[in-house]
Each structure stands twice: as C-alpha cells, then as structure tokens.
C-alpha cells in the first residue's frame, strides 16, 4: 500500500452539479434527489447522514458510478462519471473506486487473501504480484495472519476489515462506504472507523461514507445531511 505521497492514484475531488434522480414506481415518478449540488475536495472524508429514503445511498451510487443521474452531472477527479458508457464505467470503477458495504459481501468460497485479490483479477498483474499486493492490503488492515481463513471463520469486524482491504487493494483514489459499521458492535465499529480515518489521513484517500451513526460521522472531516433529496 502506498502512502499518500506516493499513491499511484491522486486523491479525487468530487463535483456533483444540479443532480436530479427520478425513479419510477410503475408509471409514477419518484424524485429521490432534486437538483442537488455537492463539492468534495481531494482527500476529504465526508459523511452523508439523513433519514431512510432521504437519498443518501442513491447519491453514493451516483458518485461511485453505479448509477446515472436523470439530470445533472457527476465529476470524480478528471472523469465525467455521468457521461460514461456501462463498459467504461465498469473499467473506471475497477481502477478508481473502492467499495465497502454494510454486509461486507465477501465471497464465501474464497479465503480472506483471495477475496482481497478478487479486484486484481481484472488487471494484467501476474499471480505472484496479485498475491503480494493482497497480502500488503491485509497487512494494512491488520489481518495478515488471517489470510487463509474463510469468511465464515472470521468475526463481523474482521470480515469488514477484509472488505476494506479488498477496497484498497487496487489503490483507488476514492472509497465509498455504505453503512460500514451498521452490522458491527461498538468496539468493532470503532476499529473500522479508525481504519477508515487512517486511510484518509495516512494514505490520502477521499472517502464518502453513508451512515446513520453519529459516532461514525464524527470521524469524518465534513458531515452533510440529506432530507427529501436535498442537502442541508
């Protein structure tokens, strides 16, 4: 894992401009985000809070290139995410975004090391190099001694740390985390938040985190609140 100074990818700034996202329930439109604007500077750790249905995850998905806005634009670093084709987006995500989910979403048939190695299968790295990088990522999250364990042999906190290692293994400029501590006890949640803070401060990663947990939001540089599709 590189330090902030030597990171292969520079930290990404994010510009969300006049973004509207409309979903359709049958023929009935449902506006989840309404002309929303957000600016995240490179290397910032932003927490998005708000009640359920306020559009937090939708905004996170737009920033991460998992979805496209109905109107407006999303720019991450030099990339205009909202204008990319599906295949371009997939490639962009694999190179620029690290994902952390609430329920970890590790592959049960793979060991911790193999789970971390998974995103690197999309690169041209040799098997030995992939393994080396995966081991490094596991060391960053403090789980190098669990590399041969399967997810079922790990605690929730350890699973989430493996997921974080998977998110950083390709050295992305942006990490998006959707309720990363939602399924964890307080102690494990604190460990995960400490790790995210370390990734932000020591490695310069831009982090956007959706959370309901005020204690988690306190770790971020900035907390933005969403309500009915608008930032306050």
């Amino acid at each position: 894992m590189s330090t902030a100074a030597s990171s292969a990818h520079a930290s990404a700034g994010i510009t969300v401009r006049d973004v509207t996202k409309v979903f359709y329930r049958g023929k009935e439109p449902l506006t989840v985000l309404d002309k929303l604007n957000l600016e995240v500077t490179p290397g910032q750790f932003v927490a998005l809070m708000g009640p359920s249905g306020s559009g937090k995850s939708t905004l996170l998905n737009l920033i991460a290139g998992l979805d496209r806005p109905s109107q407006g634009s999303v720019q991450v670093g030099q990339s205009s995410v909202s204008n990319m084709a599906d295949s371009e987006l997939a490639k962009w995500r694999s190179q620029n975004v690290g994902f952390i989910f609430q329920t970890y979403n590790l592959m049960p048939v793979l060991t911790a090391l193999e789970n971390v190695e998974l995103p690197l299968l999309l690169t041209k790295l040799s098997g030995a190099e992939r393994k080396k990088r995966a081991q490094t990522a596991l060391r960053v999250v403090g789980l190098e001694d669990r590399s041969t364990h399967y997810p079922r042999q790990l605690s929730g906190g350890q699973e989430q740390r493996v997921a974080i290692a998977r998110a950083i293994v390709n050295d992305p400029s942006l990490i998006v985390a959707d309720e990363p501590t939602g399924d964890l006890d307080r102690q494990s949640a604190d460990d995960i938040l400490t790790l995210l803070t370390k990734l932000n401060t020591d490695f310069g990663k831009t982090i956007v985190m959706v959370t309901h947990d005020p204690a988690a939001a306190e770790r971020a540089n900035v907390t933005r609140r969403l309500n009915k599709g608008q930032l306050s």
Binding site: S87, F101, Q102, V109, P119
Partner: protein
C-alpha cells in the same frame, strides 16, 4: 486464483446440492450409456462384419431359398476364393424352451474356410467334419446348456418340425469378440436328406469370400448378373448390408431407444438448468458486488457457465466411473452369456463414452445459457439492493 478457477469453486458453495446434482447427472449419464450400449450392441455384428465376405440371397426376400448349386456357380466368378451356404433351422432345446439361439444347417468344410474367425481345436474339427449328426456349438451356449464334447443332444425343429438327434462334436470360441458364441452349426446334408424330394437342395443364403474387398461391389454385381437369366434371381450384398437387413426388423425398437436416450438428455438438462438457476438467484447480490468491483457482464456469464461446465464434467466423469465397471464387468458379461445371440459383445464402446461425456458438457452449458444471460443482464444497483 483465476476467473475459471473461481467459477469452478462456486460449485463447492452448497456441497449437498452439488453432490445431489452430480449424482443426478451421473445416473442420467449411466442410463444414457446403457441405452446407447444396447443400440451399439445390436449393431456390433454389422460394424464387425468382414469386408471380404459377400452374402447372396433370393432377390425377393432372405426368407426365400436359392438352389444350393448356386454356390458352385459363385465359386467360378472371378475374385471369389471360397463359398459356403447356410439354412436357418430354428431349433429349440427342449429343456430350455425360452432360450433363443441361432441354429444353422451348413456345409462344415467350406463354413470353416469362409468363417476363419471360428476357433475350433483340430481334433474336434476333424470329429465334426466326419460326423453327419455332429454339431459345432459356441462355448457360451454349450456352457449354458451344460453340453460337453461327446454329449448326445436333442433339438426340436420349428421350421423343420420333429425331434432331431445330434452329438456335440466340437465347441468353438471366437477370434473376434463380436462373433456370436451361442450359435449351433450342424451338417446341412443331415437336414437335406431328411426332407421330401421337392424341398431338397435349397439353401437360405450363400456366403463367399473374395480376394479383394475393394472389388466387393463389382463382384456382387457379377454374381447377380450370373443368375439374371435363371428362374431364381439373387441379390448379393456385403456381409455388413446383410446383417443390416436382419436388423431392419428391429429398427422400430432401436428408434424408440434413440428417442428414450434423447428424452434422458433433456431431463439431465432440466436438472442442471434448475440447479444453476437456483444458484444464480441466491448469488444475485454477489454478482452485484462483482459488477460494482468492475467485472463485466461477460465475466458474470463466464462464472455461471464455468460452474455449469464443472458440474457437467463432474457428473459425466462420475457417471462413466460407475458405468464402466457396471457394464463391462457386470451386466455386460451376464448379457453376453445369456443373450449372446442378440448381444455377442455388450460392452461400452469408446465412442459411447465420449458421446456421453460430450453430451454432459454440452447440455450443462446449454442448461446454463438462460441463467447466465439473466445474471449478466442484472443491473448492478438492483442486484446490490438485495442486500436488504
């Protein structure tokens, strides 16, 4: 780790389901192999027919007879080295009424010349040639009826009614596995002399050995041309075609077996398709995660197809691993001993094994096409929403 290996490892996710699916495919492959082996065994005589033998029969039907002296004429046709004749007798062993076996009235000396794959000890051969009531029996039928050389046996004629007394002069084995070792040969003279005058000197068919298999068609035409001006015209065929004409009567049964084997394949495809579709449904979220990580729809389809491929290989291999000892060391031996007249060689042919394996793989892939297509079309967001 690589993508195909990851796809294959997905089958270890639900071990019970994988084991049951593999066994399901294996049993289907076993059934397929058994049916194909039955069909192949029917045709084994055709496939193993000697290329240097020509059979000549009545032009209208093989159940009508031709004059025995046609054999002398055929011997004069250029390219013919030897000729012999045979007549279907249709004998029954009184103590084994239900057992079917071929009983042929033949000219012993020329039969052994033309059918040189019949292996007979010299002493027994000499004894059979000299004994007008002697029979040459296959070792399988001799074992089944408990016949030994020197035994006196009684056969009941169905085409030529009456009790016919014989003595077992010789017992043959075969130089080729495809030869029926359940046939009983006896002297045609013995039959001919017992018939009324008007039924004498006629035979069912004449078999000749030729010097060049490449000229078989020309020699067949020459033989038939020789008899064109006679009252009874002939139809000459390769031994293979003659055997085929006998099998023609069984074509409906063989056709039905072919249909059954196709139905079995369809069942196998449905079993696999169902299992794979269930696996895909359960892994929707994982596919969403993989898409988020940057894997393409093609990758997702590859995962699904790779898993199906693994199941197909495993099921096919287990099926063949069961089928080979079951058929070749078990049921096949029993069938050859008890139904040798129909199935002289009942073993799994390499072609059958290859076909079963290829079918298992192809069907596994075909069964996975729709689930793979559905998985690849999943929208990342929709798939991830299944997280809850």
């Amino acid at each position: 780790m690589n993508i195909p290996l990851l796809a294959a490892r997905n089958v270890t996710r639900n071990k019970l389901r994988t084991v049951l699916t593999t066994l399901g495919v294996a049993v289907t492959v076993l059934t397929f192999v058994l049916i194909r082996t039955v069909v192949a065994a029917w045709y084994v005589g055709v496939e193993a027919a000697s290329k240097d033998r020509i059979a000549t029969r009545h032009k209208v039907s093989f159940i009508m007879q031709v004059p025995k002296n046609y054999a002398d004429t055929i011997r004069q046709v250029p390219g013919v080295q030897a000729a012999t004749w045979a007549q279907w007798f249709g004998g029954k062993e009184p103590n084994h009424e239900g057992e079917f076996f071929a009983t042929l009235a033949v000219d012993p000396k020329t039969t052994l010349e033309v059918y040189d794959e019949l292996v007979v000890p010299e002493e027994q051969k000499k004894a059979w040639l000299e004994n007008r009531q002697g029979i040459l029996a296959g070792d399988v039928i001799a074992k089944k009826f408990g016949w030994k050389v020197g035994d006196r046996v009684n056969l009941v004629g169905t085409i030529y009614p009456g009790d016919w007394q014989f003595e077992v002069s010789a017992i043959y084995t075969a130089a080729r596995k495809s030869i029926d070792r359940s046939t009983v040969y006896f002297h045609w003279d013995y039959l001919n002399e017992s018939l009324p005058e008007q039924r004498r000197d006629k035979v069912g068919w004449i078999v000749s050995r030729i010097d060049d298999p490449g000229k078989s068609a020309t020699i067949q035409a020459s033989i038939d041309q020789t008899f064109d001006a006679r009252d009874i015209q002939t139809l000459s065929q390769s031994e293979r075609d003659l055997n085929n004409s006998f099998l023609g009567m069984m074509s409906a049964v063989l056709g039905a077996l072919d249909i059954v084997s196709v139905v079995i394949l369809i069942i196998m495809g449905l079993i696999l398709g169902n299992t794979i579709a269930m696996g895909v449904r359960e892994r929707t979220t994982e596919y969403g995660v993989m898409r988020a990580l940057g894997f393409s729809p093609r990758h997702i389809a590859t995962f699904v197809l790779g898993e199906a491929f693994t199941l197909g290989i495993a099921g096919g291999a287990v099926g063949l691993a069961i089928a080979y000892p079951f058929v070749n060391q078990g049921v096949g031996l029993a069938i050859e001993e008890n139904m040798g007249a129909f199935f002289p060689y009942f073993r799994i042919l390499p072609d059958t094994a290859i076909a079963a394996m290829v079918m298992a793989l192809v069907l596994a892939l075909v069964a996975a096409v729709i689930p793979a297509w559905q998985a690849s079309r999943l929208r990342t967001i929709d798939a991830l929403r299944q997280v809850g």
